[in-house]
């Protein structure tokens, strides 16, 4: 509990399920959110070879949202937010992501130990903008952002994700997607490479081929999911927006995506179920990420995150 998590303040900006697993207000530090990276298990602590470089994603940090002309924004509540910052790197949308073209924060948990109905929810207040390193409005330089749950129960591992596709190769798209793998092989999932650690359906943020119209083998469009978010008129003016993803871990289905006042039903839609990986039964990892569309740093500021279940 801190001055920003008083129930009266929380009730105005969050609608948690019955059991709050984590309320992370980044005025209190990083709260367990860390750079997402690969396994450094080979000789010399080298990562496994892969077509996607996963140890150079842009860094996660505590930010007071400071801009050269605006000064310090602070967070929606208090001073600090969690900032996900890409490097100034990007490949065309149709290619595997360039090293550093994304920034990803992960919190590592395990499943709720008490009897429950299986509902699981991630809510956050966030803002996004590129680095204000040039004139103009940089909205189109932000390719996408989103949040997901990486879950493994006794029978399956699966990713439930919502992704806002903001821009595709410089053209604004502004539509929501959810993670569900196309009918492709593991090799096709990994951009036609063999022997990658990954299986079809796992790590949809960076695997699954993309098409120039914004389609992806790892995501499908949310029906009616076109939405123009509040970007504002200058790269140093950030507006805090609300995001909620609710899933059902007993039925292994999506429930609902909410963005601001728009709610999208995903009732009955299944994520892609994969055979369990070794050593991670009960894994429950929420992940938040942002993707650059061009060779320019882009930032996702997260004021706070609330993870709840019932």
């Amino acid at each position: 509990m801190n001055e920003f998590s008083h129930p009266l303040l929380l009730s105005g900006r969050y609608r948690p399920l019955q059991n709050i697993l984590a309320y992370d207000d980044f005025n209190q530090g990083q709260c367990g959110w860390i750079d997402l990276m690969n396994n450094f298990v080979l000789e010399g602590h080298k990562p496994r070879p892969s077509i996607v470089t996963k140890h150079r994603w842009g860094p996660v940090m505590l930010s007071n949202a400071n801009f050269g002309y605006a000064g310090t924004h602070g967070a929606m509540n208090g001073l600090y937010s969690l900032k996900l910052a890409t490097r100034p790197e990007a490949n065309p949308y149709e290619q595997p992501p360039a090293p550093g073209a994304m920034s990803m924060a992960i919190k590592r948990m395990t499943s709720l130990p008490f009897a429950n109905s299986g509902k699981l929810q991630l809510e956050m207040w966030y803002a996004y903008t590129p680095e204000q390193d040039r004139a103009g409005i940089g909205e189109k330089d932000i390719r996408a952002f989103g949040a997901l749950f990486d879950i493994q129960d006794t029978e399956h591992r699966y990713f439930s994700a919502a992704r806002y596709v903001n821009s595709v190769n410089g053209t604004l798209a502004r539509k929501w997607q959810y993670a569900q793998a196309a009918d492709v092989t593991d090799s096709e999932w990994a951009y036609d490479t063999e022997g990658d650690w990954c299986k079809r359906g796992i790590d949809p943020v960076w695997f699954g081929k993309r098409q120039s119209n914004g389609d992806a083998d790892s995501f499908k469009w949310v029906p009616g999911g076109e939405e123009v978010l509040c970007y504002n008129e200058s790269d140093d003016k950030i507006n805090w927006s609300y995001f909620r993803l609710t899933i059902d871990t007993q039925r292994r289905e999506y429930c609902e995506l909410q963005s601001g006042r728009s709610t999208y039903s995903l009732q009955g839609v299944q994520p892609t179920l994969v055979a369990p990986y070794r050593g991670i039964t009960s894994l429950l990892n929420p992940v938040i990420w942002i993707e650059a569309d061009t060779t320019r740093r882009v930032f996702l500021f997260v004021d706070s995150v609330l993870i709840s279940a019932e």
């Binding site: 750079d35 010399g44 940090m61 505590l62 007071n64 400071n66 050269g68 204000q132």
Partner: protein
């Protein structure tokens, strides 16, 4: 309890020429240590120079005045910094014929 963070700015990064680490926000902290750990080293008379920079906005940078001693072997080097404002990074260069430094860079903030 005091807040502290160790950021991994670079992992298994090869440097063969001039470089700068990613802009890192540190307005909440009052003291910092940059660590450079050289894991692999190649070339003739390889040497790595690095200095601390500060910034008002994470875009425009100025030398803070603190520099690493010349690095020319495997192992860990560090510099301490205080009173640095809201942003920190390292700017550096590599000298030597066919020189390659493979480094991890950490920033420890309190």
């Amino acid at each position: 309890m005091r807040h502290s963070i160790t950021a991994a700015l670079e992992r298994h990064r090869d440097y063969t020429q001039s470089f700068a680490t990613e802009p890192y926000e540190c307005a909440w902290a009052t003291e910092a240590i940059f660590f450079i750990r050289v894991q692999e080293l190649e070339g003739e008379n390889p040497a790595l120079q690095a200095r601390v920079q500060v910034s008002p906005d994470g875009i425009h940078w100025a030398d803070e005045g603190t520099e690493f001693q010349r690095i020319d072997q495997l192992g860990v080097s560090f510099v301490r910094v205080t009173h640095f404002g809201g942003w920190l990074r390292l700017e550096g260069s590599v000298e030597g014929e066919q020189a390659r430094f493979n480094v991890n860079i950490n920033l420890v903030l309190k």
